[in-house]
């Protein structure tokens, strides 16, 4: 196998990896604030892509993307407000594992509803978003490997999101409040932090991240109403693989998993590519549930 082909597999892996990384980031935010695994995270990605597609018919692309992020973030916030906060008193006393499971199950139902709503609004046809630079055929070359310039946009977006999140959690008041909340609910109450607001904020943030991911990957992967489910499964596979709650680990795990999947095609048929990542997920869950990089304690406290 020539080194160009190897480099090509590597870059394909980077494409998958950056998509997975940015979705896993969204999972972690909600998980850290609430302990819930939000199965609807993939739907936020889907909405980001579809709304961008619709708005880009009337707005210039950058404006369409920002508007899509805002609309999806709002949707995330509204979902949390109406459904999760409705049983918010549970979150206050979040001790029993039953409560969190409850809400996680509910997000499964919500993801189905979002998907059907998207079907109603956008129909079953696949939708595309213009490539940010160049066309569908544009190709850059590095070390003998060729890839679309959109890959750079995706990686750039992932890096940007990661940087913004880190800054947010480290330096802003709300960010620090969220970290305090996830570290100690009682302690943060004493300091006057309202847990409900933090939970809403976490959903708003993760929806915004999801939408950004959707908008930036849509040119490459195309979007339609049903892509959310598979993305959610991949997303939390990566999040668990890296260590739930640890954003840096999520990004690293995303790239690692993407590269493994890409090279796995040398031996496994592409039809079983997902099986590879699930087997990895199951192995991680059984051997080291805290993930590749996480430790149970640190996973709850760390953010970036």
């Amino acid at each position: 196998m020539s080194h160009e082909i190897l480099a090509q597999y590597l870059f394909s892996g980077l494409i998958y990896g950056s998509i997975y990384a940015v979705i896993a980031l969204g999972f972690n935010i909600v998980y850290n604030a609430t302990g819930i695994i939000n199965f609807a995270q993939g739907e936020f990605v889907m909405l980001g892509g579809l709304v961008t597609h619709s708005l880009s018919a009337v707005l210039p692309l950058p404006a369409a993307i920002l508007a899509a992020i805002a609309i999806t973030a709002l949707t995330g916030g509204l979902l949390e407000f109406f459904f999760i906060r409705n049983i918010g008193r549970l979150i206050k006393g979040m001790g029993g594992k039953g409560d969190v499971m409850h809400l996680t199950i509910m997000t499964i139902g919500l993801s189905i509803l979002l998907r059907e709503l998207a079907l109603k609004i956008w129909g079953e046809q696949v939708k595309t978003v213009r490539f940010f630079t160049g066309t569908e055929s544009s190709s850059l070359s590095v070390a003998g490997a060729h890839f679309s310039p959109q890959l750079l946009w995706i990686m750039g977006a992932t890096a940007l999101v990661f940087a913004i999140l880190s800054a947010f959690f480290r330096f802003s008041l709300s960010g620090r409040a969220m970290r305090a909340c996830s570290a100690s609910r009682v302690g943060s109450r004493i300091c006057g932090i309202r847990a409900e607001a933090m939970v809403t904020l976490s959903f708003v943030l993760s929806a915004a991240i999801g939408a950004a991911a959707g908008a930036v990957t849509a040119p490459l992967t195309q979007t339609h109403y049903a892509i959310g489910t598979a993305l959610s499964i991949k997303g939390f596979t990566v999040a668990v693989f890296g260590g739930l709650g640890n954003s840096g680990a999520a990004v690293a795990a995303g790239f690692i998993l993407g590269i493994i999947e890409s090279f796995s095609i040398i031996v496994f048929p592409e039809a079983f590519k997902d099986v590879v990542s699930i087997v990895i997920l199951l192995s991680v869950l059984l051997a080291r549930p805290s993930g590749l990089f996480g430790s149970r304690e640190a996973g709850r406290l760390k953010e970036a």
């Binding site: 196998m1 020539s2 082909i5 090509q8 597999y9 870059f11 394909s12 892996g13 494409i15 998958y16 998509i19 079907l119 129909g123 079953e124 046809q125 696949v126 595309t128 066309t135 569908e136 055929s137 544009s138 190709s139 070359s141 490997a145 060729h146 890839f147 679309s148 990957t217 490459l220 992967t221 195309q222 339609h224 049903a226 892509i227 598979a230 999947e261 890409s262 090279f263 095609i265 040398i266 048929p269 592409e270 039809a271 590519k273 997902d274």
Partner: protein, 387 residues
């Protein structure tokens, strides 16, 4: 008490009279009930949604023109969402409960295989819109299908490849009934055309990026790639090929017969070659072509009704209901058994996929001549020149 009883018996009598009237009124009008099972939602919605729209449009126009032999047609559509067990449940419902005279659809091969024995045993004609050759081979008296044979599509592709000097071929197909059916036909006939298949792989139909699979194709040294699927993956492959600089010709299957896929692939769609029915290039046909008028009318009616272009998938449903209509006209009866024999004796009927010639042994009715090689030029479908 006796007053109450008196009015109850009166009410009962009135009800009986009304019922008799209703039944007898029906006996005069006797609408023809046709069942349809389509995957309007779910993973096969790309196929099922246009099929449902087409069928409804056809029946509306038919009824406006007076129906069949003066009787109105009632189309009962069920959404199976691509699920075989629901298709079966609906087939039983349509036949046992609604007492339809025939069923058109289902959309996918899996569903068709699940219900065809039941329909045949119940002696109700089934005209499937799915591609699998196994649906009509061996032919069952009551089971028919409208899409062209996969083997013919494959042979057309191979002939063109042979003429272009392709020696080593890579085959990729989606992991669906349509994809694996086509893949099997490709593997069967490649040798006859002197073509060696150097790579043959199935991919997940929901795949959003296939660049690593295409890298494998690149390293296989193939001269050309053929993709056999019905999903948007067709567009993704076209784009990924350009992005990883895999500069070999791309052939597709007749699943590419939808302008949306060309639009999705954008600049990367130029030069894709695929065998297909002539619906998409209706305007380019000679005026003497027996299908031209019908194709143009279907295109314009569909666009007027649904604000989107017609696709060959919807065309399969058009053909199914057209065949059924002609059969009922010819049989001058709504008896399912007579309809089935009438279908089997249809000759020379132009449809969207080709000109249909049924017989006792051929329950598909389309020959090699129903297919032409098409390509994409300047973002539009065109006839492939080098013939």
């Amino acid at each position: 008490m006796s007053m109450f009883r008196f009015s109850v018996s009166r009410a009962l009598r009135g009800a009986v009279i009304l019922a008799v009237m209703a039944v007898s009124t029906n006996a005069f009008a006797a609408p023809i009930k046709i069942g349809a099972i389509f995957a309007v939602t779910g993973p096969a919605a790309y196929l099922g949604a246009p099929e449902e729209k087409t069928a409804n449009l056809f029946v509306d126009n038919l009824n406006k023109a007076g129906g069949i032999n003066g009787d109105k047609v009632v189309l009962i559509v069920k959404d199976s969402a691509g699920s075989a067990e629901r298709a079966l449940s609906f087939a039983k419902q349509l036949i046992d409960e609604n007492e339809v005279v025939a069923i058109i659809g289902p959309t996918t091969s899996g569903e068709s295989m699940a219900i065809k024995d039941f329909c045949n045993a119940s002696k109700v004609p089934l005209i499937s819109c799915a591609a699998a050759e196994a649906i009509v081979e061996p032919p069952l008296p009551f089971v028919f299908k409208t899409p062209q044979k996969d083997s013919y599509v494959a042979k057309w592709a191979f002939q063109t490849m042979k003429d272009s000097g392709v020696k080593k071929l890579a085959v990729v197909a989606s992991n669906t009934g349509f994809g694996s059916g086509g893949k099997a036909q490709l593997e069967k006939y490649a040798g006859e055309y002197g073509i060696k298949i150097v790579l043959s792989e199935s991919y997940d139909p929901s795949a959003t990026d296939l660049s690593s699979l295409l890298t494998k194709v690149k390293s296989s040294g193939a001269d050309a790639l053929i993709n056999w699927s019905i999903e948007p993956a067709q567009s993704i492959i076209a784009k990924n090929m350009k992005q990883i600089n895999l500069a070999i010709p791309l052939y597709q299957s007749h699943g590419f017969g939808n302008i949306k896929y060309v639009e999705a692939a954008g600049a990367a769609a130029e030069g894709i070659i695929f065998p297909c029915g002539r619906l998409l290039v209706a305007d380019l046909l000679a005026d003497s072509d027996p299908q031209k008028k019908l194709l143009q009318k279907y295109n314009s009616d569909y666009r007027a009704a649904y604000s989107e272009d017609a696709s060959t998938f919807g065309g399969h449903a058009y053909d199914a209901i057209l065949i059924l209509t002609k059969a009922i006209e010819q049989a001058k009866s709504s008896d399912p058994e007579k309809i089935a024999s009438a279908i089997a004796s249809i000759r020379g009927l132009p449809g969207t996929a080709g000109v249909f010639n049924f017989s006792a042994s051929d329950h598909n009715g389309l020959g090699m001549d129903s297919i032409s090689m098409l390509t994409v030029k300047n973002g539009k479908f065109a006839l492939y020149g080098k013939k």
